[in-house]
């Protein structure tokens, strides 16, 4: 009996799907970094670029979804093959949301009438660094099919929650002490919330990577913790 490899075309299609998901993740990760750079520098031109590029991310998810649907229809995938497709669907949705939050942050920059103050900004910068690291690491885990790396992202969420709580406290305190117009701080509270959500999506991606490689369903429940 020969054990020559079969279904080469299908295997290539699955590889291609994962390459597309990785590329989409890369785009969204860059969008988060650029949206924060635009916010910190008050660079509205860069912010507009991020908002325009969100359309590219939206187009990418349509392409990935179409690929997934076609592969299910034509190949009747099972076991690991099916998980590649199922996680392609799910991870691309999380990436698309990350892109949306980058868009929201960029829009905040565009809507500002005056540049943000350094003191307020530094409080969200730490949160942004944490969110960006989580997204990058989650996508790295996906590319490398690295369950351990994915697990590390899950644990980074605890740190993220602490930073978010601290940021929220600092910004709230600033509102109380400041007699100025608090519009800037309110905007930053929103940005902090967007960044915290980006971290959550990174955790989702990490959990799908674990499912992809082990078939184990893991879902962190924040309330239970």
């Amino acid at each position: 009996m020969s054990f020559k490899k079969t279904r080469q075309e299908f295997i290539a299609d699955l590889d291609n799907l994962q390459t597309k998901v990785s590329a989409m993740g890369e785009r969204a990760s860059q969008a988060v970094e650029k949206s924060m750079r635009a916010l910190v520098k008050g660079d509205k031109l860069l912010a507009h670029e991020v908002m325009r590029e969100d359309d590219v991310i939206d187009d990418m998810i349509i392409g990935i979804e179409d690929d997934c649907i076609l592969l299910i229809a034509k190949q009747q995938p099972i076991a690991h093959d099916l998980r590649v497709i199922a996680t392609g669907f799910k991870i691309s949705t999380d990436i698309e949301r990350i892109g949306d939050h980058a868009f929201d942050i960029a829009k905040t920059t565009c809507d500002l009438e005056t540049p943000l103050e350094g003191k307020c900004l530094s409080s969200v910068q730490e949160l942004a660094d944490c969110a960006e690291r989580m997204v990058q690491k989650a996508m790295q885990a996906y590319r490398a099919r690295d369950v351990q790396l994915a697990d590390e992202v899950r644990h980074m969420d605890d740190e993220m929650d602490k930073v978010f709580a601290r940021t929220f406290y600092v910004l709230s305190d600033y509102v109380k002490q400041s007699s100025d117009d608090n519009n800037h701080v309110t905007q930053l509270l929103f940005v902090a919330r967007f960044l915290e959500r980006i971290g959550d999506h990174a955790v989702n991606i990490a959990e799908w990577v674990i499912y992809l490689e082990t078939a184990e369903r893991i879902h962190s429940k924040k309330h239970a913790e």
Binding site: M1, F3, K4, T6, Q76, P77, I78, A79, H80, A215
Partner: protein
């Protein structure tokens, strides 16, 4: 367990075709046997009602039990065994006689002559095989004029007529078109309420759709068996995953 197979080895003369196979067959469930051609799954299926006895030079060791009775024990009545463990083959094989006579055949062989009782059994069996409505007006027509899908359901009706406990199916849909295949699959889902079914299939999706348990054979060995949901989502053995995902052929 309806049937229990333990440490079964089978030899065609010097050639060993099955190696130390152990498999439980739970009552009123469907067990699918999958694996590449020549892996031993049909050979294994035929050991369950001793069809291999007809092949010259076959000898087996191990234990095959039906309701805890050793079917290879001395003095086992083979006609009665095959009444209890019926078989449907790959190609429909109706006898060249009427639809009615095909279904009544087994009961007549077992000595039933009462026309009224035979009528009841024929109708019940044809209904059980989801064929009654299509043939009730032409029961005396030749079975050879039926379509392939109808002939296969007739063969199932013929098996059901003698009230078996276990039905063995050896690739029952491989010669049928997709619609007839779906009808047979629906039929299997229906009749498993009353019978235990062991089915050999080359169609992975069919195994996934119709069976409760799946056993994967390779080179005469049972590589793994588990709930079908597990085999098709998270098989334990790499060989199983490679086979069900079509990674080798």
């Amino acid at each position: 367990m309806k049937m229990n197979i333990t440490n079964l080895n089978l030899y065609y003369g010097e050639h060993q075709a099955l190696y130390d196979v152990s498999l439980p067959v739970p009552e009123n469930h469907v067990v699918a046997l999958i694996g590449p051609s020549g892996c031993g799954k049909s050979t294994f299926l035929r050991t369950l009602n001793r069809m291999n006895d007809l092949v010259e030079g076959v000898h087996i060791d191990g234990d095959v039990r039906l309701d805890d009775e050793d079917i290879y024990a001395d003095g086992v009545d083979l006609v009665n065994l095959r009444k209890r463990v019926g078989m449907v083959f790959q190609r429909p094989n109706p006898f060249p006689m009427s639809i009615y006579d095909n279904v009544a055949y087994g009961c007549r062989v077992h000595g039933l002559k009462d026309k009224k009782r035979l009528d009841e059994i024929v109708e019940r069996s044809l209904r059980g095989a989801a064929l009654w409505d299509e043939v009730k007006d032409r029961l005396n027509a030749s079975a050879m004029g039926m379509s392939g899908g109808q002939q296969q359901r007739l063969c199932i009706a013929r098996v059901l007529a003698v009230s078996p406990e276990v039905v063995l199916m050896d690739e029952p849909c491989s010669a049928l078109d997709p619609i007839s295949t779906m009808k047979i699959e629906e039929l299997v889902a229906e009749i498993k309420k009353h019978y235990t079914i062991v089915m050999v299939t080359h169609n992975m999706q069919q195994a996934a759709r119709v069976s409760d348990y799946t056993a994967f054979f390779l080179n005469g060995r049972l590589i793994e068996h588990d709930k079908t949901d597990t085999i098709f989502t998270k098989p334990h053995m790499k060989e199983t995953e490679d086979y069900i995902t079509g990674r080798f052929g």
